[in-house]
Subunit: 475 residues, 4 copies
C-alpha cells in the first residue's frame, strides 16, 4: 500500500517529570512519525505555566533546538497528525490548548468521535464558542461547564458521553491524564525512562528511542492519572466487556514493525501472516519480491515458509524531503517512478511472487506491478497479507470512499484482471485473526468484514452546525 | 511628542456593499496608519462566508494585492492596532472573528473596557472559553449566550453592561453595525463612496483617500446598522447626556491634521492653539521652529500671530522602514539623531521659539532641544500647545505610568530647568478648550486635569482571572 | 518633485579604524538613505580578512544587529543604491568585492562611467570574465591586470582611462582609498569621529549622525589613501581645471538640507533660491504652501521675502514602510493620495502660492495641484525654485527620457496650461547659479541648459557586448 | 556504511531538445539524489538566452513547478552536489555559469581536479578574477583566454592540461558537450527519451525515470558534442590506454542498485559480492541481517548462497525530512536510533550474520551492532562485502582522513574487537574485482589498495593562492 492512499491517523506521546521533556517528546513523536506527517505539536508545563508550539510539517521541520529550549518544561504532551487536504490547517494542529475557569488544559487525541457534531451543537446552544473545527475540542467545552467542574468525577462523566474511538492525553497544570476508549480502538501504552520519568505513547517504538522500559498498556475504559504523588488508575467503562475494538489494521499496515501493540509484536504478526499466506497459496516461482516497504515482513515469512529465495525488485528514494509536486503534464505512472525504480537485472526473465500488505484503490499497486512486467518478469503472482478492503472506517482511519476501493464491486478474479497478474490470493480474515494472539472478539475488522463493533451514530453523515463541514477533522 | 512615548490606540474602518471592499478597507486603514502601527487586519463577508487576514506590521506590509484578492468580498471591516510590547501578538490582532450558535461575527474595537475583567470572569464561570487575552472578546461571549441570542435587543443589553470607551464595528453575515459608547470617547463617522457604498471610519482622512463624502458622526450611545435595506439607527444610551467624553488629546496629538473629528477640523484647532499660545506667551526672538512633525500646525499659528518668521530646524528621515534596532553600546541621544538632524545653518546664532504639541516624559523633547543648542542656538523658548500631562488615561490611550511623566512632580520652572530652556509656557486648559467649538462639558480632559468624566471601576488595577495579565490589552 | 520620478543615485560611506566600524557604516548609510533606497551593502576588513553583506531594501531592513556583529571588523565601506526596475538586483548591489592576484578589494561607486562598455569589451577580449552587469566592475578588472599590478601608479593610470562621473571608495586589506573624478561631479568629503577614526561620506549629514567633525572635501582629481600610517593625497587630474562639474541638482533636490556639499549648506542655498524666486516673481496671495517635503526650504525663503504667511496644505504619510503596491483597477490619482492628503480647511477659499523645487514629468505635480483646487483653493500660483528640466544626465542621475519631461517641448505658458495653474514661474538659471557661492564654471547645469562640461562618448547609446543590456547599471 | 561518513560526490544530468527540459532535468537529478544532497541546480538555454536556478537542499526543495516553468528552455544541464560543511555554499553550487568574450557557458562537474590550484594561480597572474572557490571554475577561465577562443581545438587543449577526475557537462548557447577524463574515474552515459531528445547522466537510473533508452557510455578521453546537427564524438586522450580508473567504490556503495555503470548492473555486482562472501566466510547461524539500506543486495546474495534465511533486523525512518539537529546533551548513540530501530522480536536469541557493504570509521557500524546485541542477539558475525578501507581518494570521494579510518592501523582481529563481533570477514580485493566483468587494470581500487592509477600532483596538499582554503571544494 502507498502511504498516499490511506491517511495515517495520529500518534501521541506524553512525559511527566523529565528535565528535557520537550526534547524527549520530540524524540517520541519522531519515532512515531509514520503515524502522521502533516502537523506536529508539543505542549509543556511546570505546574504554573504552559507553553506550546505546533506547526505544519514533519517533526524535525516543526521543532528546532531553539524552539525546544524555549518551550522546555518538565511535563509535556505531543501529537503528530495525519495528512489530508481540506480542513487540515494549523488551527486544528494538536495538542489543542485552552484556558478556562478550571485553569489550563492541553489535549491530544488519536481516533474519531462519532457523535462530536451533536455534542458541539449542544455546547453552542448554551453559548459556548469553538475555536477550531476539530472534533476533539468538544471534550474541553464539556469539561469547562460549571456542573462538570464541580463534579469530582467530571472527566469520567464527559468520557461517558463520547462515542467513537479515542486515545487521549490531557496535560493539566498539575497532572497528565491518559485515556483509552472502552473498546480500545487505538493503542496507548505506558513506560518509564532510565531517569524514572513516566511516559505514554501510542506505540512502543517511541519507548525504544528513549531506552524507556515498557510498563503496560492503558486498558480500554481506563483513566490513568500521573501527578506528583504517582500513577493512579480509574475505570469509566465496563469491567470485562464481551467485545473489543483493537484495530487489526494497525498490525497489517499502520504500526511500526518494531513496535508491540495490543500485547504483541507487529513484525511477528506480519511475518506470521506471510507464512500462512505461503501455506494458503503456494506457487511455483523463482523469487519472492516485497512491495517496499510495508510488505517486507510478510515477504520474509512467505520466503521462509515457501523456501523460495527472497529478492529485491525495487530501489526506493530515501531523500524525498518534501513531496514532489508533480505537474499535470506528466503521465500518471511517473508517481510510481518517483518512489520506486525497478532493478531490471533482478526481475528480468523471472517468475515472481510479489507480496503486498494490503490493496486499497489498486491503482498504485498496479503501477508497481506494471513496472515489474515491463522490466521483463515472466510471471507475477500477487499475494496480499490481508483480506480485501471493502468498508469505511469510522474509528480513526481515513480510507477513500468505499466506492473507490478496488475490492468493493469486484471479486478476486476481477481484481486480478484489473491488476494484470497471473494469480492473486488474499489472506482470509480467519487466517489473519489466527496470526494475532488475542481473542478475535477483541479486534475490529470492520474495514474487511463490515462488522462494526459498535453502532455508529447516523448523525455522522448528516447535519451541519455553525458552518462546519460535513465531516469534522478527527484527532 | 515622539510617537514612541505614547502608544497610539487604534483605528477602525468598515464598508458595506463595494466590489473592491477589501482594497477599499486597506486604503481606509492606510490613511489611518497613524492610529496604530503594530498590527492590521481585515474581515470580509458576502452574506454567506467570512474571510479574514490579520498580521503584525504596517498595513502595506500585512496586505498584498494577492491577499486582498483572495479575501475580497463586498462587505468588510478593518482595524489597525497600536504598538506595545507585552501582550501584543497576532492572537490579539483585530478584527477578532468567531463562529457561534448565532452564526458568525467579526469585531473591531477602539477604546478600553474598564470592566472587562469582571465580565470575563462571569462568562468563564458559566463555562465559556476565551481565545484571546483581549478585552474586546468578552462582548462576543455575551452575545453568544442563549438569553442574548433570543432577545431582539440583545446587542443593546450587552452594550448596556460595558463600561469604558468603545467605538465598535461588528460585521455579521447580514449586516455591519457601528457603535459609539454613551460618552463618545473615541471618534467614529459615516460616509458614502462615489459608488454609493456606506463606509464607517475613525477619522475623515479615511474618507478623503476614497473620495468619499462625509455623512455624519455616529452619535454617542448610538447603534447604526447597515444592511441590504439601508441604514438604521437605534439608541442605547441616554438621549441628552449632560456630560460627554470626547478625547481632547485626539485634537492635540492623535488625529491627522486633515481629519475632522468631533465636528471640527484638527488642523484648525491646532493652528488656533498656536495663535492663542502666541498671545498668552509672546517672546522676542528671531524665528519659530516646530518640533517635527506634530507641532507644525501650532507653529504656523504661532508664527502668524506673532509675526515672527517660520523656519525649519530639522530634517527628518522619511525612509525609516522598519524601526532601527539600536544596539546597547550606542549612547542614548543617538535615538534622536536617527529621527532628526539639525540644520545647523538655520539655527546657529538664532533666538528660537520652539513649538511642541505636548510633553510626555520630557527626555525626547530635551534631546531635540539639546541638539538645537549644540548647533548654536543662542536662546530657546519652548511653547507647548497643551497643558502639562499629569494623569493616566483609562479610555484608550496608553500613556506611561504617571510617575514617569515630567510634569507629575514638577512645576513649570522645574520642567524648564529639566529641559534646559530659557523660557517655557504651556497652553492653559481653558485656552485649549477655547480652541474647540463644542461645549467644554463634552470633552474628556482627564490626562491634563485628573477630572474623569465617569467613575472607573476599581477592578481595573486588581484581580487576575484565568492567568491573564493585570491589564488586559485594549482594542 | 516626487522621489519616484527621478532615480536617486547612490551614497557612499567609509571608515578606517573604528571598533564598531560596521555599525558606524550602517549609521552613515542610514543618514544618506535619501540617496538610494533600493539596495544597501557593507564590506569590512581587518587587514587579513574581508566580510560582506548586501541586500535589497532599506538600510535597516538589510542590516540587523546580529548581521553587523557577524561582519564587524575595524575598516569598512558601504553603499546605498538607487531604485530602478530592470537590471537592478542583488548581483549588482555594492560594494562589489573581488579576490585577484593582487589580493582582495571591495569597491563602492557613485556616478556613471560613460566609457564602461568599451573598457569592458577590451577586458573580455583578453579573457577576463565579468561577474556583474555593473559599469563599476571594469575598474577592478583593469586593476587586476599584470601590468597594472606591477605599476606603483597603477590606480592612477586606471582612473586616467575612465570617463564620466565617479566618486569611489576602495577597501583593500591594508588601506581605504577615496577618489573623486577630475570634474568633481559628485560630492565626497572626509571627517573624523570623536574616537579619531577617519570617515568618508557623500554628504556631511552622515558625519552629523556620528558627531564626526568635517575635515574637508576630497578634491576633484584627487586620490586620498588612508592606512595605518595616516592620510595621504595624490593627484591624477589636472591641477587647476578651468571647468568643473559639481552637480547643481544636488543642491536643488538630491542632498539633505542639513548637509554641506561643494562647500556650502544645502538648506541655505534652497532658502536663498526661494527668496530670489519671490523677488523675480511676486504675487498677490493669501498663503505660501510648499509641496512636501523637498520644497519646504525654498518656501520658507519665499514666505520670508514676500511677507506672506507660510501655511501647510498637506499631511504626509510617515508610516509608508514598503511601498504600496497599487492594483490596476485604481484610478491614477490615488498615487498622490497615498502620499499626501490635503488639509481642506487650510486651503479652502484661499489664493495660494505653491512652491515646488523642480518639475519633471509634470503629472505628479499636476495631481497635487488638482487636489488643492478640489479642496477649494481659489487661485494657484506655482513657483519653481529651479529652471525647466529639459536634458538627459550622463553623470549619475537617471532622469526619464527627455521626451517625457514636461518642459522639453513646451514653453512656460503651455506648461502652466498643462498644470492648470493661474500663473507659473521658474527660477532662471543665472539666479540659481547666483544662489551658490562657487564659480558658475565649476557647476554642471546640463539637465537645465544642455551644456555638458565634458564630451560624452558616443558609445554610450550603442554597442552591445556579451549580452549586457544597452545601458549599463551605474554605481 | 552511513551516508554521513562518506561525502557523496556529485551527479550530472543534461538534455538537448526537449519541450520540458527543465522538468526532465529535475527528474534526472531527483533519480540521482543519492549522489549529492547538499545543493541542486539547473541551467537552461534556447540558443539565445540562458536561465539558471541553484539552491542549497534537496532537488524537490530547490525546485518548484513555478521555478521550473520560469527557467524552462529546450536545452539544460543539472547538478546535485555532496554535503559538506566548510566551503560549501550557494556560491559554489553548480552548474556554474559565465559570460565571456566567447559567449555564455554553463558547466557541471563530477570529480576532482588535482592540479586546480596551480592552474588557478596561472590564470590569476594573468589578471583573471575568480568568482567561486570551486576547482571547476578554472576550466572556464582557460576557455575564455584569447588563444583558446581562437583555436578550433581549444576545449581539447584545455582538457589536456587538467589532472584528476572529471566527468563534465558544458552547456553553450549552441551545443551541449559531455566529457569524461582519460582514466574514466566517474561514470557518464548517454540515452534517448521517448520523444527523441538526447540525454546525458551519471547513472542509468536517471534514464529509467524518464523511460529513456540507454545508448552508450561516454568513453574515457572522449568529447561528445550534441547540437542541432546531431551527436559528434572527438577523442582527446590516448586511444587504448593500458590502465583505467573506473571507481570500484561506485559499485560497492555509491551507485543506485538499479543503475548500470561501467557496463554492468550494480545490484548484480553487489549480490555476487554477497555470494562470494558466503563462500569465502561461511558461518553457522540462524539468520542473515543486512545493515540498511546499502547492504541489502549483498545480503540477498549471502543468504541465497548460504541457504540461511534472510531476515530483517531494523526498521528505518523514511520521514526524515531535513536532518535531525541533535543537541549536545544527548548521548552519542542516539544518532543511530534516529535512523534505525531494532526489531527486538526478530533478533532476540538468534545467531546473526550481519552483512555490511563497507566500514569507514567503524563507530556507526559499532552502534548498530551494539543495538542488535542489546536486543538479545546471541552471536554476531559481521561480513563486509568489500576490503578494508585504508587510503585517501583524490578523485572525487571525500573520505575522512585516513587516520580516522578504523582499518588504517588495525588488523582484522583488532577491528573485530573494536566492533565487538564474534567473527569478522572482509571480502578480498581479488574477489571484489572478480565480481565485476571488466579487466581489473581498468578499475581504481586506491582506497582499498593504495595503488593510485595516476601520479597525484604534490601541490594538492600545499600552496595557498588568493586566500582559498587548502583543499578546493570539488565538483
Amino acid at each position: 500500500m502507498s502511504n498516499r492512499e490511506v491517511r495515517h491517523h495520529c500518534g501521541l506521546f506524553g512525559v511527566w517529570g523529565h528535565e528535557q521533556a520537550a526534547l524527549v517528546t520530540q524524540l517520541g513523536l519522531y519515532a512515531q512519525q509514520h503515524r502522521g506527517q502533516e502537523s506536529a505539536g508539543i505542549c509543556t508545563s511546570d505546574g504554573i505555566r504552559m507553553r506550546r508550539h505546533v506547526g505544519m510539517g514533519l517533526v524535525n521541520e516543526v521543532f528546532s533546538p531553539s524552539i525546544l529550549e524555549r518551550i522546555n518544561l518538565p511535563n509535556a504532551i505531543g501529537h503528530v497528525r495525519y495528512s489530508t487536504s481540506g480542513s487540515s490547517c494549523e488551527m486544528n494542529a494538536q495538542p489543542l490548548s485552552f484556558r478556562f475557569a478550571g485553569g489550563q488544559v492541553a489535549l491530544a487525541h488519536n481516533g474519531t468521535l462519532t457523535n462530536a457534531r451533536d455534542l458541539r451543537h449542544e455546547c453552542e446552544q448554551r453559548g459556548q464558542i469553538f475555536q477550531t473545527t476539530s472534533d476533539t475540542e468538544v471534550i474541553v467545552h464539556m469539561l469547562a461547564e460549571k456542573a462538570c467542574r464541580e463534579d469530582p468525577d467530571g472527566l469520567a462523566h464527559v468520557l461517558g458521553r463520547l462515542e467513537g474511538a479515542y486515545s487521549l492525553l490531557f496535560l493539566f497544570l498539575d497532572r497528565l491524564v491518559a485515556v483509552r476508549d472502552p473498546m480500545g480502538f487505538r493503542p496507548l501504552c505506558l513506560g518509564r525512562t532510565p531517569s524514572g520519568a513516566i511516559v505514554a505513547a501510542s506505540e512502543t517504538c517511541a519507548l525504544d528511542i528513549l531506552d524507556a522500559e515498557y510498563i503496560r498498556d492503558v486498558e480500554p475504559g481506563e483513566i490513568v492519572t500521573i501527578d506528583a504523588s504517582g500513577v493512579h488508575s480509574q475505570r469509566f467503562g465496563p469491567e470485562s466487556p464481551s467485545r473489543g475494538g483493537a484495530c487489526v489494521f494497525e498490525h497489517v499496515y499502520f504500526a511500526d514493525p518494531a513496535s508491540n501493540i495490543f500485547g504483541e509484536n507487529v513484525h511477528r504478526v506480519r511475518e506470521e501472516s506471510g507464512r500462512v499466506l505461503a501455506k494458503e497459496a503456494p506457487v511455483d516461482a523463482d523469487i519472492v519480491i516485497p512491495i517496499p516497504n510495508c510488505a517486507r515482513c510478510a515477504a520474509i515469512g512467505y520466503a521462509a515458509e515457501s523456501g523460495l529465495p527472497l529478492g529485491r525488485g525495487f530501489t526506493t528514494s530515501h531523500y524525498a524531503g518534501r513531496s514532489f509536486i508533480m505537474p499535470d503534464q506528466l503521465q500518471r505512472d511517473l508517481a510510481v517512478k518517483l518512489k520506486l525504480n525497478v532493478i531490471k537485472e533482478a526481475v528480468r526473465g523471472k517468475r515472481l511472487v510479489v507480496v503486498e500488505d494490503s490493496v486499497v484503490r489498486g491503482t498504485t499497486t498496479r503501477g508497481k506491478l506494471d513496472a515489474l512486467r515491463k522490466a521483463g518478469a515472466t510471471e507475477i503472482h500477487l499475494r496480499v497479507a490481508s483480506p480485501p478492503l471493502r468498508y469505511a472506517c469510522f474509528h480513526g482511519i481515513d480510507f477513500p470512499d468505499p466506492s473507490k476501493l478496488v475490492a468493493t464491486n469486484r471479486d478476486v478474479r476481477q481484481i486480478a484482471d484489473f491488476l494484470g497478474v497471473d494469480s492473486l490470493h488474499y489472506l482470509s480474515l480467519d487466517s489473519l485473526l489466527g496470526c494475532v494472539k488475542g481473542d478475535p472478539q477483541h479486534y475490529c475488522t470492520a474495514c474487511f468484514s463490515g462488522d462494526y463493533p459498535v453502532t455508529v451514530t447516523v448523525g455522522l453523515m448528516t447535519g451541519r452546525h455553525s458552518g462546519v463541514s460535513d465531516r469534522l477533522p478527527t484527532g
